[in-house]
Symmetry: C2
Subunit: 207 residues, 2 copies
DNA sequence: GTCTATACACCGATAGAC
DNA sequence: GTCTATCGGTGTATAGAC
């Protein structure tokens, strides 16, 4: 059992090196733009030469892929941490959930670009890196199911609304709150469209 | 007077060359991705060498900028052409207007990426190229004003909703209609939020 | 005026020495 | 593991052909 999970000294050292490279890559992306990362720049930030990175990552795309997975795993963690703290009121729970996702995305524009836009030509996330993204959406579906909403089209409408607010905020008012302050109103508008009861604590009950 | 507007033979020839290069650039972008355009590829498509492009465009960014302006001018043309054909019913007018914009964006993913996402590191549209984009939004504000809506926050909510539907359609169901078929429902949801009357032909009249 | 040839610095990636 | 050396390809500047 231990042999399976325990990591050797080499493995941990290797993992730490990978992590250092990833951090440097995020820094480079935030400084010069996601699509403007260069391996020479990343290598210099960790005190290496560019070819040495190839021992840790098989290609530049693999580096992007690791960043993608890291971002979505971080997002999933934020969302699951929220599960225990959601209020009983459906609308208030929705508002808090939306706010958490909105803030997470707006907080790091470059991360959001990698997570939610296909802007790197030729980059396609691996199944492993994509898994936490699927899990985030699945978790949200379960939340809605608990609120009595199982309308798939309604969920699609919600994702469009939320991602639209995030994109507009980042594209047209970065650092501001012009769309951030519309979030509650948007969620309520959608909740009304979904026939979610207005305020009471209890969930809707189908006849 | 004629001297002012008429174009010399050289000007027209130059304009035609620029247009040929732009078309080749669009082709290259659709084939390899917007951010993966190379000047050598574009030049080859028009039967030139890469450095020759520099007589027509001062830089690669200027090429992107011309494409950006072309895309938004085309979008503005589609929208203004619509003005004369909008139905009297506010909701039906809104639905038709939204559909025209949605279709225009979804019809060409690469064009949409250039118009509405900041995915090319270092590219910032010039004031001249940005002007028709502003005009499209202004025209929409005027349309809403005619419908009795002057709520700026409401307009922001609308742009978020519409752009969100477009992005989701392109990102998660390219070539399909999973979000396209939600468009009317979304517009109606927003119209209700804006207290737009349900069906009658006449516009709302403020006291 | 319109384009080509040449050149340069930088890119991702590979081979092989240590 | 990390290095040096190197490859083909990139955007771009410039000199000069016609």
């Amino acid at each position: 059992m231990l042999e399976k999970t325990a990591k050797s000294w080499q493995d941990r050292r290797r993992e730490s090196a990978r992590q250092e490279i990833l951090t440097a890559a995020w820094d480079a992306a935030r400084e010069h733009g996601l699509g403007a990362i260069t391996l020479r720049d990343v290598a210099e930030r960790v005190g290496m030469r560019a070819p040495s990175l190839y021992w840790h990552f098989p290609s530049k795309m693999a580096l992007y892929d690791a960043m993608f997975g890291q971002a979505w795993r971080s997002c999933l963690e934020v969302q699951t941490d929220l599960d225990t703290r959601l209020p009983a009121s459906p609308r208030r729970a929705l508002r808090m959930d939306a706010r958490a996702f909105f803030d997470f995305c707006v907080q790091d524009p470059v991360r959001h670009q990698l997570m939610n836009q296909r802007s790197i030509p030729g980059f396609v996330p691996s199944a492993e890196s994509y898994a936490p993204a699927v899990e985030v959406l699945e978790r949200f579906r379960r939340l809605l199911a608990r609120l009595g909403i199982a309308d798939d089209a309604g969920v699609d409408l919600y994702t469009a609304l939320l991602s639209g607010l995030i994109d507009q905020q980042l594209a047209n008012d970065p650092g501001g709150d012009r769309w951030a302050r519309l979030l509650d109103r948007a969620v309520d508008m959608w909740a009304t469209e979904m026939n979610l009861p207005d305020d009471p604590e209890r969930l809707t009950e189908e006849p």
